[in-house]
């Protein structure tokens, strides 16, 4: 069963690898993006089911990342954000922007894998 494409954006390669290895599955295609421009281009061309973003700043600086990722009305990828920031303002801001789920580091690898599996089965 093809579980679709997942994009991961992180400025740190090792973190993206950690995440990719955690949610790895033979039927899933995982692509790493090192820049926001690359992420937006891949999102529009590959139409991933899920996007992991390991940074909260792109949603809070006016870069309009959410609009760019969900520009097409036919495709609405699920967006999960993982970051260290735990303040209430940050969490509420991200949810207000339209982020579907917010995780904080340190993460439980098993829980993240189950979460991704649960998303696939929806």
């Amino acid at each position: 069963m093809n579980r679709g494409t997942i994009l991961i954006y992180s400025q740190q390669r090792l973190l993206a690898t950690l995440l990719a290895a955690t949610i790895r599955d033979d039927n899933r295609h995982i692509i790493y993006c090192s820049s926001l421009q690359q992420l937006i281009a891949k999102s529009n061309s590959l139409r991933p089911t899920l996007i992991y973003i390991i940074d909260s700043a792109p949603f809070m600086n006016g870069a309009n990342l959410m609009e760019m990722l969900r520009r097409s009305s036919l495709h609405r990828p699920t967006i999960y954000v993982i970051t260290w920031q735990q303040s209430e303002h940050t969490v509420l801001s991200l949810l207000e922007c339209g982020v579907d789920q917010y995780f904080t580091f340190p993460i439980s690898m098993l829980r993240l894998r189950l979460k991704t599996l649960a998303h696939d089965s929806q």
């Binding site: 090792l14 973190l15 690898t17 950690l18 290895a21 955690t22 580091f105 340190p106 690898m109 894998r113």
Partner: protein, 317 residues
């Protein structure tokens, strides 16, 4: 003669800079190589963690670069996750003698490199024999080295964490405390906040206050009030007041106001600014500060709103 000495020294300095520039380029290439290896090791280790089976790594970690890459891969995994099964990590550490390698490296390295290796030690499960060496670095002249050694020591022997912090000869800075809190978030340190708040040791008390603030422990309200009333250390009182404010608790009680009045005008002003930012109402601030001190707060709080009533009433008249 002196002029020739100057010429030789200057020429040597120029050659030294060129060699340093070449060394920089080489070390950047080595860093890239290490990053690629760490990438591969992370994938392999996570696969082992999920399959609960320890296998040999490929390529085997038998050179210094590969040892460092493996240590960095383990550090990345353990510092960003919790609840990880450390049996596999311990087995890999034992199989590739990673702790021995890092201990030898610490001996021969200096400056930022030594600090980095000490931080890597905090992720590698190692035997308690390393605590003696780490204790030595705890007495270093450099504050970064001391902090890195402290973090490594706390991670190596978490059961003695409180005793280790209590025996420190230096005061913990906010940055040091933040790093200890990060260890707490990983679930490594079995520390409760109550004995820390009751302790007379400055470092333990500051750590206890940081735990209350970071984890939003509202039931610590009474203990914080006690500390504000009874503590003699001005820094502890200051930190307790900020911690109480982070919980959104009222600060208008008599004891708290008494302590606030003993603060310098600048500190009071800073606190007023902090409380305004934290969302305290003007009436709450007026209980604690004088009308003159709350002028700034009034203008900031007002700047979050927009008056529409004035314009409407003008229209009616």
């Amino acid at each position: 003669m002196l002029l020739y000495i100057y010429i030789i020294i200057q020429a040597s300095a120029i050659i030294g800079f060129e060699v340093a520039a070449l060394w920089q380029r080489r070390s950047r290439l080595r860093q890239l190589q290490r990053a690629t290896l760490s990438d591969s090791y992370i994938r392999q280790i996570i696969k082992m963690l999920f399959s609960e089976e320890c296998c040999d790594l490929y390529p085997a970690a038998d050179t210094p670069i590969r040892h460092m890459a493996l240590a960095e891969a383990m550090n990345t995994i353990l510092s960003h996750t919790y609840g990880t099964n450390t049996t596999i990590i311990r087995e890999l550490t034992r199989r590739y003698r990673l702790d021995t390698f890092l201990l030898n490296r610490i001996r021969w390295s200096r400056g930022p490199r030594r600090i980095h290796i000490l931080i890597l030690m905090s992720a590698i499960p190692s035997h308690t024999a390393t605590t003696h060496l780490l204790q030595q670095h705890l007495r270093s002249r450099h504050s970064y080295t001391r902090t890195a050694a402290l973090i490594a020591l706390l991670a190596t022997d978490p059961s003695k964490a409180i005793a280790t912090i209590a025996s420190l000869r230096f005061d913990l800075t906010p940055l040091d405390i933040a790093r200890i809190i990060t260890l707490l978030r990983r679930g490594i340190l079995p520390i409760a906040y109550e004995p820390l708040l009751r302790s007379t040791n400055r470092n333990l008390r500051m750590l206890g206050l940081a735990i209350v603030r970071n984890f939003g422990i509202e039931i610590a309200d009474k203990q914080l009030q006690n500390i504000i009333s009874t503590a003699t250390d001005a820094d502890i009182v200051h930190e307790s007041i900020y911690t109480l404010s982070s919980l959104g608790r009222p600060l208008g009680r008599a004891k708290v106001r008494e302590r606030l009045s003993a603060m310098t005008p600048r500190r009071r002003k800073q606190l007023c600014r902090h409380l305004t930012q934290a969302g305290y109402s003007l009436s709450a601030l007026r209980c604690i500060f004088s009308p003159h001190e709350t002028i700034y707060s009034e203008s900031i709080i007002k700047s979050y709103k927009r008056d529409l009533v004035c314009s409407t009433s003008h229209n009616i008249s």
